[in-house]
Each structure stands twice: as structure tokens, then as C-alpha cells.
Symmetry: C2
């Protein structure tokens, strides 16, 4: 009985049975209670420790359920063979914290990928999360539909129809953990070696990702309406990747005429498709709202990608594809095998967030927040008239400043940094031959003189993202920028 | 003022300010309160509706924050231009529920992919989830590390070291939403066109997925120790995909000698690697525990994949890679651009679940549950001695029954189905030339006579997964199987 001299602490927050359970488990793990050893009966243990019989029973049944001891009928409790049981050691490895990437710190950071989280509705989020977990529905821990929960796909279809003019049945929607994953999924469906047209500058991650999977990315020229159709035609590409609502990073909103030409291009061959990345369409400040390209598509040529990471929070890893009907067979053959990447709890939470009207409120609130920042920034930048040209200001959460006084982006960024303000050079988003000089030179190499012109522009344009800079900070930062640039 | 004749319901659960807010919003959305229209002052509104001034203020400020009205200093409140605001229609599209796939229903289903969820610790899960969301730390809604939260990677490293003998620093671990995603990530890192060796039968999804991304999958012969090294050598493959702890579906546990030969094979060329899928190593019933292959690897050749979907719940979409040091540069160049696919909330929840000792308890409990089912099934199957050979019974949560009386898998499954029991034919897991007859014939075509022998075996083996069949059900189902097969 000496084995079980347990010093119980009635003042501890751990209940008595738990203290006994932990003690015996420890003794078994460290070998002091070996395999086959008989334990005292619960009655004896209760007497010995001066505790109730129920407490002793609870401790033993916990040990039985975890496989540390077993009850042999008419004989009593015995220590099991530990082999195969997972017994974490008591000492944990001391780790040095991960090397923090040393980045300069700035007083004001106009990051183009910022999202304002001060308005994140965390109370609602917590309430919805609690409700779902409380529903005591173990079904939500079973593997769900690879396409995503039907309930969520219905609410997304409704939202897209009303807010973006996208025509989609829930059966066409595929939910996934972020745009990057959805592009991987598309590559897995189409197979590699596709000829994909992209603009330059563009969303760099998509470019790198598509190239990593052995697609031929062909860089196509742009004008003020977006991707040029003649250049697209000449590129020989079968898939065009575009952001018609707000090209990243240039901020071009593709006019209806160009959209129609793009759809006509796609209609000319069976194998042609358009990937419409509608990454920040929620925020628009000027001009008539234009429905998504998908809404104009009558021939099933547009693959639409949307996300909640920009409009709710980056850590909400939920994006979605709307596949045209004609691609559903391909999805069922080659895409559906990939299990859903979003937990069902998160999917249901989001469905309730949309259904309860919270998303509507949040979006409208964010739009008001971003519009005030947008207006403040543009007002402050008026003083740069004649020195910088502003573009991309009609939508989204960033603008571009192109220096007309010969200042390069490097110089502009360096001068701003000296005043504590971080701005971002446009050149990091150039791809293909444009970027070749700065990189490994593996661009597609068929570009023309226009690239040269772009090459010139890239060196004197900076990006200012204002999503995560408060209005007062914008006004302070603008003062610093005036010091830096005027 | 007639515009604002609002019928307030003091008995409603919605507070008064909310009722006013909703009414005015509705009037703006349906156009009865047009752009530019002046609203009554809050004082007038309060008088008119016989409510407090504060209530009127709260209703207006909600409308302002969502962009429906604006306050013009010294002039009052005016209706904003609605263009661009997201205003969901009142009527929702009626949807027919998604066509349910009509599957036969069975009284007992021995699915090989089942997981028992009756033991899911939902109370703990709820508590941990609540704690994380209550921490009021908005950081968790910012985009996290693409590799996964450092905290979670530390706990995974500790667990792997103690439970599986895996040697990993948190810096080598990449967290992702499921094994399928992690395979896509590896393809994106390695680039497509890799020559990958797989067994047949194998985990079919991995096979399909790797082939979709234009890798050459070469089917390699197996013997009772697992993948044959001579056949691997002859295949010309550079990457070997294996499940040494418990081959799926055959259940082979690779002995230490073969593991060493596999590591030697990998050491012979710089470009060679081994993917170790350790999908259900937590459950083992007989034989000495063998540490993961990764634990024997001194040359940085093993890429380890583990998952919590099998050991906690399928809807917990968290898996992880352990990359050898020598692949970290490649990951940083080509993998890190892909944002994390798991929400930070889920990652921190899981880290706390491991750190708090809950995972240890849960695993040990599940092991006891599965062992009792395993033992019950084997006991019941004794009566089939001489008719069936049992294999794959030393680990995991399924076994194989090979008929020695000439019965085919189709016949066995059909007879079982008649008695209400679902069992699964092995042939669905055959790939390459083995599966070619049943499929499109696109197998690699370089297989030899051994495939013929396998082809014979595949037609008389069925799989019985017991993870999701309670012990009493197993005994009842066994009675049905005796009727069906004896």
C-alpha cells in the first residue's frame, strides 16, 4: 500500500479523484507500479486515503478508460502493459523562440495587404461559435462535403447574386481554405502545363504558384482598361487570369466593353477559360457598380474566385470558387477527391454570420471606415499635385502614386522610411520579362517594347495601402511624406 | 415625419433602437427614403416616438456607421447614396435541397475510413475554444505564419518526439488543412514531373492527386515486409511514398530491416526522398512499438506526414509535414508563399489541447476503445478459420479477410449486404496496371507477373473497418456475416 501514499491537497483546484488519477498514472509511467501489479480495491483505497468510495471509483474508472489499469472480474484492478500507450515525458524540451525576422519598424505602415481589425465583430463571432459548439451535434466533427457545407454554399450563392450579380447555384460552389489553395485545386483539376495569361504587374503569389506547378505563364500587355485582347490573342494562352473589379496592384476597373471582348475571346475555343479573381470588390468609392464578369457570362467560361479573408479578417481562411456548369464533371472526377480544407465549425459559423445579417452590417461598416481613410488620404495628397499622379483610387484599399519629377520608387521609399513611413515599390509585383532583370531571367521572353515602357514606370511608382492606418494617422503620416518628398 | 411612423413593439426581444434602425434602413433600401433626404433630428424623433433621446442617438449612429445616413455638421442627418452598399433582398431564393446520393443503407457498416466520435471530448473542446475567443486578442484574426503558429509547432515537435521517435524542430514543421493539401504543397515545392514510387494497393487519393499534377507514379511491388527495394530500384523513381507503420490498406508493418534498406536506397542519390505517411500510427495492438522511419533517418531523406483527423476527429482539418533540414530552403523559396490553410483559432485550440494533456488522455482512451473492438472482431472471426485468412490485424482500425474457399470479393460483399452488413472490396485500392482493367488503362505498364498474382488476390479480399462499430454491434454483425458466408 506504500505505493499509493498520495498527498492529497483539498485546497487544490483539481478534484480529489483527479489528484489520485494523476498520481497513479505517474507511478505507472515511471515504472514504480509495474505491469501486472495489483492495485488495492477501491474500498481499501478509500479507507486508506480517508476519501469516499465514489471518489476512488472515479479515479480508477478514468485509469481504466485510458488503458493504464484493467479490472479483472472477481480479482480486482491490475496495471496494464504500457507498451503503445502515449506517455509524454515530464520534462519538456526547452526551446529558443523562433528567430524573429528583423524588420525595420515604421511609425506608419501603408501595407497593401492590411485589413482593419478594430471593427472585427468579435462579440458576435464568439456568440455564433459558442452556439455551434453547444448544439451538441457530433455530426460537425465528421468529415463534411469536399465542396463545403451545403448551407454555407446556399448563403454564398445568395450573397453573390445580390451583391455581385454572380449567377451561381450552390452546386457550383467549392469552398476552400484561401485563394492559394483554390488555385492549387484548379491546377489539380486542369492538370499542369496549361498556358495561362497574366498581367504584369499582378498578384505575385498567383504567378509564382501557377509557375511552380509547371504551367506556362504568358505575360500579356495592359492598357488603361486592363488586359489587352490583341496581346492575349497573340500570347496563345488558353486561360486568362484577371481581376476586373480592381486589378491588383494597378487598381484598374475593367470597363464593360473590355469585359465583353474578354468573354468573346473565351467563347472562341472550347478549351478557353477566364479566372476572375474578385479579391476586394466589396470596397468601391466612385463610378457605377459593375457586376462581376461572371454575371455577364452566358457560355460558362468564367471561373470566379471570392474570399472572406479581405472582407472579414485575414485569419478567416475561407474562399470559394464558382465553377461554370461545364466544369462540374471535371471537378467531380479530379477535384472532389480532395477533402475539404475548412473545418465544419468554421463553415457553419460563417453561414450563420451571413444569414443573421451580420456580414451585411460588417461590410457596410467597413466600407464607411475605408471610405473615410480613402478620402482623408486623397485630400492630404492634393499637395503633391504636379509632382505625383494618383491612380487606382476608385476602389479597393490602396492607391498608387507615380512620381512625375523623376524620383525613383527606391528613392521615394527610402526618403519616406527616414521619416518613419513605409510605402511599397510597385516593381515587386512585376513578373515575367519585366521582373527578369531583378530575378533569374526565366521569364517567357516574348514581350515587346511595351514592357520597356512599363519597365520605366515601375521604377517611379509606390503603393499606399490605407486599410490598416487610421484617419488621424493618415494625416500625421502625410505630414511626414511632405517632408520626405516636397 | 410620416416617413418615420414606426410601430415599435416594446414586447419584442429586439431593443427599441434596433427596431428604429431596422425600419429606417428598410425605408432607405426600398427607396422610400431617397438619397439626400433629411431625417428628423434625434430630439424630434425622440419626441415623436415617445422614446429617450439616447435611443434615437443609438439608432442613428448605427445607421451612420453602416453608411446609410451621414451627419452634416450644423445641418442634421441625411440619407446617403446607396450605390455600392450591400443590401440583401428580402426574398431569398427557394432552393431545392441538394440531391442526396442514394446509397443503400446498411445495419452495420465496416467502413475503413470511420472514426468513433462518441468519445470526442466536446466539453473540453468547447471550453478551449471559448477561452481563445475570449482572450480578446485581435491578433488571432490577422494572417498568421504560413508554416503554422509557432506555439502549435512546438507542441507537435514534443509530441512527435515522445510518441513517435520523430526528431523535429518546430522550424521544420509545416501545418496544413489535411494530408491532401500537404501533398499539393509538396508538389508545388518539388515541381511536377517527379517520378514517384507507390505500392498497389495504396491510399488511392494520394495516387490520383499526384498523377493529376503530372507526376509519373510508378507502381512498385510489395512483399510481406512492404515495398520491395529491388522493385523500387528498378522503377527509376526518385521519391518513394510509403506507410511503414501500417500500410494502407494491407496493414503491413514494415520491419526495421526493410526500413534501413529504404533509407539506404534514399541515401544513394541526392534527389531521392521518402514520403512517410504515418496516418494511423497511434493505434497498435501487438508487437513492439517501432519508432517512425523519420527517427532512423540520419541523412535528411524523410518527409514525414502526420494528421489529427484520424486521432481526434475527421473535421479537425489539421495535418503537418516534418521537412528534413535540407528541404527548408526549397520550402522558403517555393512553399512559404502559400498562406496557412488552418485558422489561427483552430491552431491555438489544438496547441492547448495537446499542452493541457487532453490529447494524451483522448488517445489512450481511443486506443482502449478500438482495442476492445479489435479484440471482439477477431474473436468473432475465429469461426471463419479455414475459410478466411486474417491479415493487417496488428495495428490501425481495420483488418483484411482473404477468402480461401474461392469466394470473390464481389460475392462476399453482396452476400454480406443481403444480411445488412457493409464490407469493402480490396480492389478499389489497386492502382496502375492492377487497376487498369477496371479503368482507363493509363497505368504505367511496366509491371510484371507479380501484378497478375496480386490481381488474383484482389478479387477475394474484403476490408472490415471497426473504428465506428460498437462492440455489441460487432458481435451482432458477425452473426449476420456467419449467415452470409458459412
Amino acid at each position: 500500500m506504500n505505493d499509493l501514499t498520495i498527498s492529497l491537497d483539498p485546497a487544490s483546484s483539481a478534484p480529489l479523484y483527479e489528484q489520485i488519477y494523476r498520481h497513479i498514472k505517474g507511478e505507472i509511467q515511471n515504472g514504480r507500479l509495474p505491469f501486472g501489479k495489483k492495485l488495492p480495491s477501491t474500498r481499501n483505497l478509500a479507507n486508506y486515503l480517508q476519501i469516499s468510495r465514489t471518489t476512488a471509483d472515479m479515479a480508477y474508472s478514468q485509469l481504466v478508460s485510458e488503458g493504464y489499469i484493467e479490472a479483472v472480474p472477481y480479482r480486482g484492478y491490475f496495471v496494464c502493459e504500457l507498451e503503445g500507450l502515449y506517455c509524454p515525458g515530464t520534462e519538456r524540451k526547452k526551446r529558443r523562440p523562433e528567430k524573429e525576422r528583423k524588420e525595420e519598424t515604421f511609425r506608419y505602415d501603408f501595407s497593401p495587404s492590411g485589413v482593419d481589425l478594430n471593427s472585427f465583430p468579435d462579440g458576435i463571432w464568439r456568440k455564433l461559435s459558442k452556439n455551434i459548439l453547444l448544439a451538441d451535434n457530433r455530426k460537425i466533427f465528421q468529415l463534411g462535403d469536399p465542396q463545403g457545407e451545403y448551407e454555407l454554399r446556399c448563403t454564398i450563392a445568395d450573397y453573390l447574386h445580390q451583391a455581385r450579380g454572380v449567377l451561381a447555384e450552390p452546386e457550383q460552389i467549392v469552398v476552400g481554405a484561401g485563394n492559394d489553395f483554390l488555385l492549387l485545386l484548379l491546377c489539380s483539376m486542369f492538370g499542369t502545363g496549361q498556358k495561362i495569361a497574366m498581367e504584369s504587374p499582378t498578384y505575385r503569389k498567383a504567378y509564382d504558384l501557377l509557375r511552380n506547378l509547371s504551367n506556362e505563364v504568358r505575360v500579356v500587355e495592359m492598357d488603361e482598361s486592363g488586359m489587352r485582347i490583341d496581346s492575349l490573342e497573340a500570347s496563345g494562352a488558353d486561360i486568362a487570369y484577371v481581376m476586373p473589379s480592381h486589378q491588383f496592384p494597378l487598381g484598374i476597373v475593367m470597363p464593360v466593353k473590355r469585359r465583353m471582348q474578354l468573354l468573346e475571346w473565351a467563347a472562341e475555343a472550347e478549351r478557353r477559360f477566364i479566372i476572375e479573381d474578385d479579391y476586394d470588390s466589396e470596397f468601391r468609392y466612385r463610378g457605377k457598380p459593375i457586376p462581376a464578369l461572371q454575371g455577364f457570362d452566358r457560355r460558362g467560361k468564367v471561373i470566379y474566385i471570392g474570399t472572406f479573408s479581405k472582407s472579414i479578417a485575414p485569419a478567416i481562411r475561407v474562399s470559394y470558387l464558382v465553377l461554370p456548369d461545364r466544369l462540374m464533371d471535371l471537378y467531380h472526377q479530379r477535384g472532389r477527391m480532395i477533402s475539404s480544407t475548412v473545418s465544419r465549425v468554421d463553415q457553419l459559423l460563417l453561414a450563420n454570420f451571413l444569414d443573421g445579417g451580420y456580414y451585411e452590417r460588417h461590410l457596410n461598416k467597413m466600407r464607411a471606415v475605408y471610405k473615410s481613410r480613402h478620402d482623408a488620404l486623397l485630400e492630404e495628397l492634393r499637395e503633391f499635385h504636379g509632382i505625383c499622379r494618383i491612380s487606382g483610387e476608385n476602389a479597393g484599399v490602396h492607391i498608387l502614386l507615380t512620381f512625375q519629377n523623376g524620383m525613383t520608387e527606391q528613392e521615394a521609399a527610402a526618403r519616406a522610411a527616414k521619416e518613419g513611413v513605409r510605402v511599397y515599390g510597385l516593381s515587386r509585383y512585376y513578373v515575367g520579362a519585366d521582373a527578369a532583370a531583378q530575378e533569374d531571367g526565366s521569364g517567357s521572353g516574348w514581350q515587346t517594347a511595351a514592357a520597356e515602357k512599363d519597365g520605366a514606370r515601375q521604377s517611379r511608382t509606390v503603393i499606399l495601402g490605407y486599410a490598416n492606418v487610421a484617419e488621424t494617422e493618415i494625416r500625421e503620416a502625410a505630414k511626414c511624406l511632405k517632408k520626405a518628398w516636397l
